[in-house]
Amino acid sequence: MSKIASDTKMLAEGTVIIALTVILKDVLPPIYQLPQGGSVSAAGMVPLLWFALRRGLRPGLEAGTVYGLVHMALPGSYIVDPIQALLDYPIAFAALGLAGMFRKYPLAGVGVGIFGRFLAHFASGVWFFSQYAPAGTHPVVYSAIYNGSFLFVEFIVSAILIYIVVKRRLLEIYL
């Protein structure tokens, strides 16, 4: 295996991981169906976090960015204006790559990555609400509550799964 240049290997790995993220987010049945119709996806962020923890900061950021673009191009994406599009897709998912800074402490990495994604969605929420919510309301609060609640659940799911994956030494396979 060592004959393959590591750049090519990393690129191929990132590509497949991006496709895997799409599968986990949109194809597999959700882990939990909420009574109101919302759902907790089947740990859609785990492959990207795993890739960032395995390969480091820069590949993680790049894979996240490309995943954001793929997500944007697939059916079911919401785009209202260019700034919101950038914040909600490429930047939000690139933020997951921040996990690559904490390769020694995977759970801290998961926390930082998802917090970064929260910040991106939060900023886009504030931007969106500031245009469409009436004057006199508090977009900051709405955005924080809405994004915080669903990302908190996703954080718990991802943290459990990443913990198990790391314990099984899945980060080092085929490296």
Binding site: A19, L28, A42, V66, P75, Y78, P134, L161
Partner: protein, 261 residues
């Protein structure tokens, strides 16, 4: 297998699909600018109607109506919230009636969502990555983008197989409390990751065997070229910009209430 039907690659061709993605993107940006410039109901309705011929020519009505349905929930929410605040709190521009301002708001939202969704509905991932490449985005990104999109159906099938296999061995996905359900995903997640990594090794070997990255400057079999249809769309877009600037500066748009009474 209806779940990943939407991801399967389809080759659709229509005059709209054949347009240069960069030109289409410019058109979408123009629609965006015009929609931001007006907060009156009439021009926004007009903008919404302008897009319908595009949808019909590209024959993406089904997908378009589906995305419209998804967006209408938020649009209604925007209307209700703005109406309630405007009506009871008095927060609305004095030139408009209390129901017209929220209506314009949700119309603007719909116009924006729809114009962007038409762009993605009528642009194939290959075209998109070609456009990215010719806009000097590094080739690695474009390659990862197209290949990942192409890999989705393949991996989806694999995921389905793994899930069926684990279910046959007695794995119950829909049972237990939250933690249990999360842990139930492990027997699916680990084989998926392992098989994905194996696949990536095959992909890397295939890339190396075809001399990935050997040449400094890449050439493409298909090159995006502007054709007459593209120039027409550019002309239409610029025309829209000029008309809307003219209308904005010199014509006062009657409000809907004034027209109705």
């Amino acid at each position: 297998m209806s779940v990943f039907e939407g991801f399967r690659f389809r080759h659709v061709s229509s005059p709209i699909h054949r347009l240069d993605p960069r030109v289409k993107f410019f058109y979408v940006l123009v629609i965006f600018g015009v929609a931001i410039a007006f907060l009156e109901v009439l021009p926004l309705i007009l903008l919404f109607l302008i897009q319908i011929p595009f949808v019909l020519v590209a024959s993406v009505q089904r997908e378009w109506i589906r995305s419209l349905k998804g967006a209408s929930f938020l649009a209604i929410l925007i209307f209700v919230v703005n109406f309630a605040f405007g009506y009871f709190g008095g927060f609305y521009p004095s030139s408009m009636s209390p129901w017209e301002y929220p209506l314009a708001m949700s119309l603007r939202f719909l116009v924006l969502v729809e114009s962007f969704s038409i762009f993605f509905l009528t642009t194939s991932p290959d075209h998109l990555s070609l456009a990215l490449e010719q806009s000097h985005v590094p080739y690695e990104f474009c390659f990862a983008f197209t290949t990942a999109v192409r890999f989705v159906p393949v991996l989806a099938e694999e995921a389905q197989t793994i899930m069926d296999a684990q279910k046959a061995r007695g794995l119950e996905l829909e049972k237990g409390n939250f933690i249990k359900r999360v842990r139930n995903y492990i027997p699916i997640l680990i084989p998926l990751i392992v098989s994905a990594i194996r696949r990536s090794l095959e992909l890397a070997e295939a890339m190396e065997s075809r001399a990935w990255g050997a040449t400094e400057k890449r050439t493409n079999l298909y090159v995006l070229k502007m054709r007459s249809a593209d120039y027409t769309l550019i002309a239409i877009s610029i025309g829209m910009v000029i008309i809307s600037i003219y209308v904005r500066l010199f014509i006062t748009i009657p409000s809907l209430t004034m027209l109705l009474t």
